[in-house]
Symmetry: C2
Subunit: 141 residues, 2 copies
DNA sequence: CTAGGTGCAAACTCTTTGCAGCTGA
DNA sequence: TCAGCTGCAAAGAGTTTGCACCTAG
């Protein structure tokens, strides 16, 4: 998976989304990120590329990219949005309560159970959010 | 489950939490609620009981109650916190994207799978959040 | 009596928006 | 060219906090 930015760029154009210098800088930041950066992090990282980019543009760009499904928005700790590129397979998150580290995982079985539960309630899932807040297990001391 | 407010009150006292007139009003609001009210809703409902209660008190009370595990905080749509009494068995939420209605459900199988996944990653779950955003299934038309 | 709670209003954080100028296709 | 994007600064929405007074236990 994990497309490179040129590919993402082409897809955005195909969807009629303008790809500007600023948007490219933001996409590059997300492409390079191994964490799930917050808006301010994205802004400061993008500024290393493009000195003049503004906070408003970052918000507007992330909003636009989210709308076309190019990025995913999260808010693990309720202190503001965190973003990631939506270019890989679907996954959920486990958040290390001590370090804040975010680990991605996927369980087809859980996905199926969710769909089944929704179906039984008369619903079809549009999307879902599963976050596990956890601590490292104690190893034998 | 579903304890009445007098019981909750006693437990709070046992935990060293002062139970004031205002806190009681808020607990009664949550006890009576069938939805997952936002802070402003809780404030206005509580004011029917106690005219003078302030917004700051609602925020501080909900914070205090959450800290001792008496209430649960949610934020389904990212537009602010919603609260519910933590007096029933654990459950997750399905949010109707068209009506905003919140349906509670529980799956022991999903809980187990979550714990298993965490274990495999070397973690122990402290708590988790599972939200299904869904629409009513099409019936045969 | 007094540690802790309350009301009020100001302050804060995160996010959105109006506007005039800029720019990608 | 010109619809759409951008920077700036101001405005919003939700939440927190300092302070003087009040009150549960």
């Amino acid at each position: 998976m994990s497309r490179d930015v040129a590919e993402i760029e082409a897809e955005l154009r195909a969807k009629g989304v303008q790809v500007t210098r600023q948007r490219l800088a933001i996409l590059n930041v997300l492409r390079a990120a191994t964490d799930h950066p917050r808006v301010d992090d994205i802004l400061s990282r993008a500024r290393q590329d493009d000195e003049s980019i503004s906070q408003a543009t970052v918000y507007r760009t992330l909003g636009a990219l989210e709308k076309v499904g190019a990025v995913l928005k999260n808010d693990f700790d309720g202190t503001g949005a965190r973003y990631e590129l939506a270019d890989r397979a679907h996954h959920d998150h486990l958040i290390d309560l001590d370090t804040g580290e975010v680990i991605e995982f996927h369980s087809e079985r859980i996905e199926e159970l969710q769909a089944q539960i929704a179906r039984e309630l008369g619903y079809e899932i549009e999307w879902h959010r599963l976050e596990l807040y956890a601590r490292r297990s104690r190893q034998k001391p």
